[in-house]
Structures are given as C-alpha cells and as structure tokens.
C-alpha cells in the first residue's frame, strides 16, 4: 500500500465567476479502518486564502502549522495578507526543501488575488506547481475526481451553481473510492462572504 493511501483523502478546488470553491471529504482512516468522520483537511490561512492538504494526516497537520507560522511572520513584517500566488511559491519552496525526504502531502491552494480574481493551484509532494484555470484535484480519489470535474465543469459559474457542481463532483467521486468519503466539507468564497457547508454522503 502506498503512503498516500494510509489515511485516505479527497480534495477538489474549482474556479467560478469572481469566486472559488474548495471541497474535501471528512474521513480519517488507518488503512482500512475508519477512526474519525469529521477530519478537517481544509484550513483558512486568511480571509481570502484557503489551503487543503491531502495525503498523510500527520504531515498535513505539521505542514499546516509551519505555513501558518510563516504567514503570521509575513503579516507582521509586511502588515498585509499574503497574495495566493506568493503563498503558492512559499509552499512549493518548503516542499522542495525536503526533496530527498519529503512530506507526504499534496496541497491544494485556493484564494482570491488582486482585484478578487480567483486563483487555484495544486502541487505534488515535492512542490511542482500546477496552476489551472478551471479545477484542481488531489487525494486517493483523484482519478475519479479528474473524470467527474472534466465532465461537470463549466467556466464562469456563479457561486450557487459552483457549489452544486463541486458537491456533485466530490460526492460522486468519493463514492467510488473506499478510502475517502463520510460526507463532504465545502467552502465557497466570494469577495463578500465565505460560506461553509457540510454535505450528507454515503457513510460507508
């Protein structure tokens, strides 16, 4: 079994019209046994920047703590929040630093940049950035997610339609993956508000 399949995870982020959505599943497992059904994989860095971490749960939490630390230092020095593109470069550099002994995590970064333009990106475990204009996926369910997002995604959706699309893509993909599921956690971010919703899914 691969190290990425130890805890199981599913993450997806999508771009809409002046908004973005980031969603994850809620299962934490130890190989095939489920030990938690409310595991937090998406973390807020600041009001308009969210970070999702898939892969090994302990590395995800460690990486999140280190990144929050670096971002707080940045806020103190620069007296402003980090732009999503800058944050993505920071995460990439931190992951590449551990090139020969990496963190077993695949981050998904989603944020509203300058002029509230949505930005999403994902990376492999050693920091190779993959910027996309439509959607990014990560986790054990990534292959199903690629298929679901590729067919369900439309450009320039408003936040209601974006929520529906990302939720349907997530739920249908995790239903085909044993290691992720037990509901979904979706954040929809527009320039004026952040909507957090918990989805009902199959509990198996």
């Amino acid at each position: 079994m691969s190290i990425f399949e130890y805890n199981g995870s599913a993450l997806v982020a999508m771009v809409g019209k002046n908004c973005f959505a980031i969603a994850s599943d809620r299962r934490l497992g130890v190989q095939l046994q489920t030990i938690a059904t409310d595991f937090q994989r998406i973390f807020k860095i600041h009001d308009k920047l969210f970070l999702g971490l898939s892969g090994l749960g302990s590395d995800a939490q460690t990486l999140h703590q280190r990144l929050v630390f670096r971002h707080k230092l940045y806020q103190l020095r620069e007296e402003r929040d980090m732009k999503p593109e800058t944050f993505a470069s920071l995460v990439s550099a931190m992951l590449y630093e551990k090139r020969f002994g990496p963190y077993f995590c695949q981050p998904v970064i989603a944020g509203l940049g300058e002029d509230d333009k949505p930005f999403i990106c994902t990376m492999d475990s050693i920091g190779a950035k993959e910027l996309a204009k439509d959607f990014v996926v990560a986790g054990t369910a990534s292959e199903s997610l690629y298929g679901a997002c590729e067919s369900m995604f439309k450009p320039d959706m408003d936040h209601e339609e974006l929520f529906e699309t990302i939720s349907q893509a997530l739920i249908s993909s995790v239903d085909r993956d044993c290691l992720s599921g037990w509901g979904g956690h979706v954040y929809i971010v527009t320039p004026t508000e952040v909507t957090e919703r918990i989805l009902k899914g199959r509990m198996d």
Partner: protein, 269 residues
C-alpha cells in the same frame, strides 16, 4: 529569530526510510513525460516543447509550461521530474541575474550551462532534470543538452524526453544548416507534433520560443492540435440538489475607509 537555512534539508529522511521498510511505498512525483527540442537556424535558436504533465499514467496538467526563462536572451526546456526542472532553472536564473548585476554584461549561454551542469553533477543524478538550453549572446547562437548526471552536449539540433526518438526522426530527415525563421518554426512544430501523437508521455499543445540577436518571441500554445471534441453547450444541470447538513456564512470584514473630517490642519490655532 530563526533564519531558515538555504538548500536541501534531510531531517525527514530517517522517518521516511522507516516507513518504506514497513512496506509503505513512496509516492510518485509529477513528471513531464515530454518531448523537448531545439535547433539553430540562420539568425538564432528555436526551442520547442509539448505541454503535458503526467502523474504515473494520469495526465495531471494538460497545459503546463516547459520552456523556462533563464535570462532575456536564454531559455531552457526541461524534462524529467517537474519540481526538479522548475527549481533548478529558477535557481540558476536568479544566479545569472546576480551575475549580470555584478558584471554589467548580458549573460552568456556557456555561463548558464556551467552553472546547471555543476549543480546537477553535485547531486549525482538524484536531481532528475534533463534540459535543452538555448540562447543567443555576443558570441553567437548556442544550443546545449544537459543530462541529469551533469554531462552536456553542444549540438546544432537536439531532442530530449520520452518523445525524443519521435522528434529526432523528424530532425534527422529534414534538418539542414541555414534554415529561415519560418522553416525553423515549422520544423520544430512538426517534431513536437510527432512526439505528441506518437509518444504517450507527451501530448496537448506545442509551445515554441524563437531567440534571435537582441530579441525573443515566446509563442505559448503556438499550435493546439488537440481541442476538446465534444463539448455540450448546455453543460451539466443537476435536477436534484445536494443534501446539506449544515451551512455557516461568514461575511468578510469591509476595510474601513478613513476620510478626513473638517479641516486638515486641526492643530493650528
């Protein structure tokens, strides 16, 4: 305050080795399966690359950029592990910029070549980056290939990556010295297309970069021979809504605008 050290850090290696011994396989990295090419034409250098990034057998990125900026007159195509090609080209690009400030001159291709090959040799091939470096400087146009272990070749036309055989077949049959710009671009496009259609690790679109003395032209997505064939104009509509258990809406704080009230010089008597 704790200033972070530069360079690679190996503190997780022992833990990772322990996990591998316990039977947990280590992850695969994002690779750029790739077809990258370069050729010298009458006035300079033309570089070409496909745009597919793979993660095992899955296409992770359908339109990634493989032609990296090194200096205003030097570009580098990268194949191999994506993180390595990006990191090594960014690193050497910064070093070249500092060197330009120090010397006050335009960078030379051999400088970039030496910096890249020294870096790759120092890591004995573990930094898995295979590069095609091309540019035009005061001494003329140059084209080099750099292998992950640090060896280099200087060639009039070169191909690297999993699609290199397909592309080299085109070059070997049609390359000649003194090609014009248009002929060169067409030949590079043909070679990359041969890689895209015949090699499974390469795909999507063709990127081309033409570097001549004093100017360069980066033709991103010069050719897109793989568009999405069946696109439903209506897209998906979901009749049944997703079941939601809990909704929490957090309005974002509005930044307060401070406007001067009354006169500006309140302190004056």
């Amino acid at each position: 305050m704790d200033v972070p050290k530069t360079g690679f850090s190996f503190d997780l290696c022992r833990r990772n080795e322990m996990l591998t011994k316990k039977g947990l396989k280590s992850p695969g990295y994002l690779k750029t399966g790739t077809t990258i090419v370069g050729l010298i034409f009458e006035n300079g250098v033309i570089l070409g690359a496909d745009t597919r990034a793979t993660e095992g057998p899955i296409v992770a990125d359908k339109n990634c950029e493989k032609i990296h900026y090194m200096a205003p007159n030097i570009y580098c195509c990268g194949a191999g592990t994506a993180a390595d090609t990006e990191a090594v080209t960014d690193n050497i690009s910064s070093q070249l910029k500092l060197h330009r400030y120090h010397t006050g001159r335009e960078s030379r291709v051999v400088t970039a070549l030496t910096l890249l090959k020294s870096h790759l040799f120092r890591y004995q091939g573990h930094v898995s980056a295979a590069l095609v470096l091309g540019g035009v400087d005061v001494t003329g146009p140059h084209l080099h290939t750099i292998y992950p272990h640090g060896s280099t070749d200087t060639l009039p036309f070169a191909t690297m990556g999993s699609g290199s055989l397909a592309a080299m077949a085109i070059f070997e049959s049609e390359y000649r010295e003194g090609l014009t710009r248009e002929e060169g671009v067409n030949l590079v496009t043909k070679a990359i297309c041969s890689g895209i259609f015949n090699d499974l690790g390469s795909g999507s679109n063709v990127d081309v970069c033409v570097i001549e003395k004093g100017k360069k032209e980066y033709l991103r997505n010069h050719l897109t021979p793989n568009p999405r064939t069946y696109i439903s104009s209506k897209g998906y509509t979901f009749s049944k809504k997703t079941e939601v258990l809990l909704t929490k809406i957090t309005p974002l704080k509005e930044l307060v605008d401070v406007v001067q009230v009354g006169g500006g010089d309140a302190m004056e008597e």
